[in-house]
Symmetry: C3
């Protein structure tokens, strides 16, 4: 997906890209007390990207974003643009690479799957993201590939939770390792699908830790709690003559010492004690269907929030298709999702059962 590229100096270049995901979404809530349905056009992702290399060793990546511009709001001007990513890369050798700046935290596989190359409509809305520093964090990562890129390791030191509510400000440390049994996945980012161009079977696992992130008893500034989380994941995609199946699943467990059920600060996120898993499957039809390629997908998620009230626990079932008019550069996606709560909160739309239909058009320029 290279866009316009300008060369400079001896080996240097900068590439510019624009990427937009234009979504139309219909939601229908089941509560009797709420006026149930709504439609919404918004720009799920809306990005200007500048990236470059001086040489094989030094590069940068800066990406502007205004997430979900126009969602649930009467348009007047628009959401503020911020740096979704801004980092420097130093690649000394394949086993020894560094990233410095603001970039994807290296915990769940799905967070690390490219935003514009998911298998399903999008990543999980919640469970793929860590409670502190959700998708991106600021810090330094050391990573690399070993054994002909069969094995990849990553270690990241970052800010994690930072606020007055934190007991003692200390860095967050994340480690990840994966093992690719077939073709290597040797980049920092994964993909949700390789569209049948790779034979992949990768298993991975990560651990995430930050000490003293919250008080169990915040009003009395006592009972310090650490954050820790782990995840394990598997990804399989293989091009057969009858089509390319994709199968992927992950389990993740986030914890802050059960502080959410004690007397924590108000800012502690509801996701701080979450256990969850997802399974997703795709099938890319061989050859073209009309002018493009067709991929069917299914997604299942189960989330257990471990709050004493029992609210929030939910399952997500969705099915849909990607129609690749020009690969990921121009793609139409449709997904129908059913979200069911173990214990719905009646009259509070985001916490009652709902159906959601989304049509998305993606352009990468």
């Amino acid at each position: 997906q290279a866009g316009p590229t300008a060369n400079f100096g001896e080996q240097g270049f900068v590439t510019f890209n624009y990427a937009g995901q234009f979504w139309a979404q219909y939601q229908d809530f089941t509560s009797a007390t709420d006026n149930g349905s709504q439609t919404d056009f918004f720009l799920r992702r809306n990005r200007l990207t500048f990236k470059g290399q001086w040489s094989d060793y030094i590069g940068f990546y800066a990406q502007l974003e205004a997430t979900s511009d126009g969602r649930d709001e009467t348009m007047s001007t628009g959401r503020s643009i911020y740096y979704r990513d801004a980092y420097l890369t130093m690649d000394f050798s394949d086993p020894l690479r560094f990233i410095v700046g603001k970039f994807k935290n290296t915990f769940t596989r799905e967070n690390l799957e490219a935003c514009l190359e998911p298998l399903t409509l999008d990543r999980a809305e919640t469970i793929a993201y860590t409670p502190f520093g959700r998708s991106r964090d600021v810090g330094v990562a050391m990573w690399g590939n070993l054994l002909d890129a069969q094995v990849q390791y990553r270690v990241m030191v970052a800010d994690g939770r930072e606020a007055d509510e934190v007991v003692q400000d200390s860095p967050r440390v994340t480690g990840r390792i994966h093992w690719s049994l077939l073709d290597p996945e040797y980049q920092y980012g994964y993909r949700g699908t390789y569209l049948g161009t790779q034979r992949v079977l990768t298993i991975g696992a990560s651990y995430d830790y930050q000490a003293d992130v919250a008080y169990g008893d915040a009003p009395n500034l006592s009972d310090s709690k650490d954050y820790d989380a782990w995840t394990a994941d598997i990804f399989f995609e293989y091009p057969f003559s009858w089509g390319t199946p994709t199968l992927s699943g992950a389990y993740m467990d986030y914890s802050v010492g059960d502080a959410i059920n004690m007397n924590p600060d108000d800012e502690l996120p509801i996701t701080s004690e979450l256990d969850a898993y997802y399974a997703k499957a795709g099938y890319l039809v061989p050859g073209k269907v009309g002018p493009g390629r067709l991929q069917l997908f299914y997604r299942y998620e189960n989330s257990d929030y471990n709050v004493d009230t029992g609210f929030y626990d939910q399952t997500w079932n969705s099915a849909g298709f990607n129609y690749y008019i020009d690969g990921q550069r121009l793609k139409f996606t449709f997904e129908y999702a059913m979200v069911d709560f173990d214990q719905p909160m009646d009259g509070v739309p985001p916490l009652e059962d709902y159906d959601q239909a989304t049509a998305g058009l993606q352009l990468i320029f």
Copy 2:
């Protein structure tokens, strides 16, 4: 106004532009109780634009803006940048074109006249904009030219008003048609002046509708009101040997079932029951005057807000000139405006009579 352009692929290109409108504005309010005058430097428009085409069929447009940066504020950092526009274009044929994303709503002619190519200093400050989704909205437009581009049609489905205050969230639908009797105006955007390069006589009309946008009795969640609006407009410009006159006028009527005079939600804009019209005239002097070209202009606006208190109703009279040093790329504009209220609100500067002198320098790079 093409700027630096990078080609890529077989037919693709991306063009980059910067455009700034640097204004110095003096306002003098007539109230005896208020300290009357103020001067202000600010950046009325301040834009980085990226646009491109893969081919004749598929294109994009992304524009960053921080409107009126520095206006009425002690400078510390600056206003947040947002996407003024971000959309995908699909042009299947001249009669069948689509725009998907965030772009200009297709209601008033003046809103559709290019921001950097107005006849007067700027558009109307208020009446050119719809009460919901003022200048831009998020959605989809189908449009095209018929009968050798003598006739142009547009249909747009967008978000319109979206908020908790809305009775029932449903899409906004806008339709517009124009008829060009001389040279066609075949683009999605109009211009406020063609600087004598076209012979234009175009008449147009639009209708805008969204159901159930507000309650007439908001505290009791009753008396649902629809929004509807219509406008009609005319534009004439013709290069004669003695110079190029430009004449343009429009009438617009916005309504939300008189909810503004009932008991609506606090967010309902004061412009929701507005009737208004403008007339503007220009005269481009033939040949050069010094190193550039001189265009004189006059503008009249009448606004009737239909609020029971009688406040807000106003007339605007302004006169000034554009001095085109290098066409629209480098232009100096001066305008003197007198704003008179039928019933001024004494001591509330924006609602008392005032005079306003503005000098503007425009650069498009």
Copy 3:
């Protein structure tokens, strides 16, 4: 530091740059009641720059920034991007140049030293900035070089303080003059070090004035106060065989008629009655040290806030080094600073004595 450049038209070009300053900072406060230490990764500067010239005469500069993204905050999305600079330049001749838009106010030398080319880790955190329109303001500057660029003058008219709290809105006027006894410093921006490429001895002085910026007795709207400030500065750098020393110092005096000790509006900044000075020294080791060049530096600041309570008055001592791997394009900086208050405010971390260690990596692309 030219980056990728696109030419267009006959003489025109646009250059794009990305610049990042990635900092890791440790702070240790001495108070017994506060949990003393914290570490933080953040992006001190994070900039996309677009600049161009049509010709020798007309140019523009637009720079996007999100200052200190990730500082003291749990990362979720990021800080809003704004225009750090956005201006038009008109260079009629070396003695007659204009800048129009949002750009650096022309008061202290250190504010005018390039953000990416300081001698020490950074400028002064506070004293280099004026109380109103801190680093940049919106307005117009006329400036130029006289007598073979030995003398440079600048006059700027800008917004200064603008708000409801202002007694009478009127423009801010700033004047500056410098005299270069050796090599001329002929640009609008200075540098904190020329890395031994110039022989420089420059002395400068500035005056800054805005009438009626605050009430001494704000509740009663009485006792109007003017703002005025002056500064004098000296800069010396000379490449000797034994290395390049750099010596620089400045004194600045900001005043709003002692309003801060009366009954002013709440928005009046604590810096409004500040006297301060800094002295900084550097030593660039001749030749290479390893693959790059090494520069040692020391910085001293003394600030007297003139508030009756005696709080805020402080001294800053810091020492560190720059290691230029590829000039300013890729640089590593370390600084250790000790900040001591004449009268610390116990338990209020920014106002108690602290030590601060900062490691910074700078990339200009």
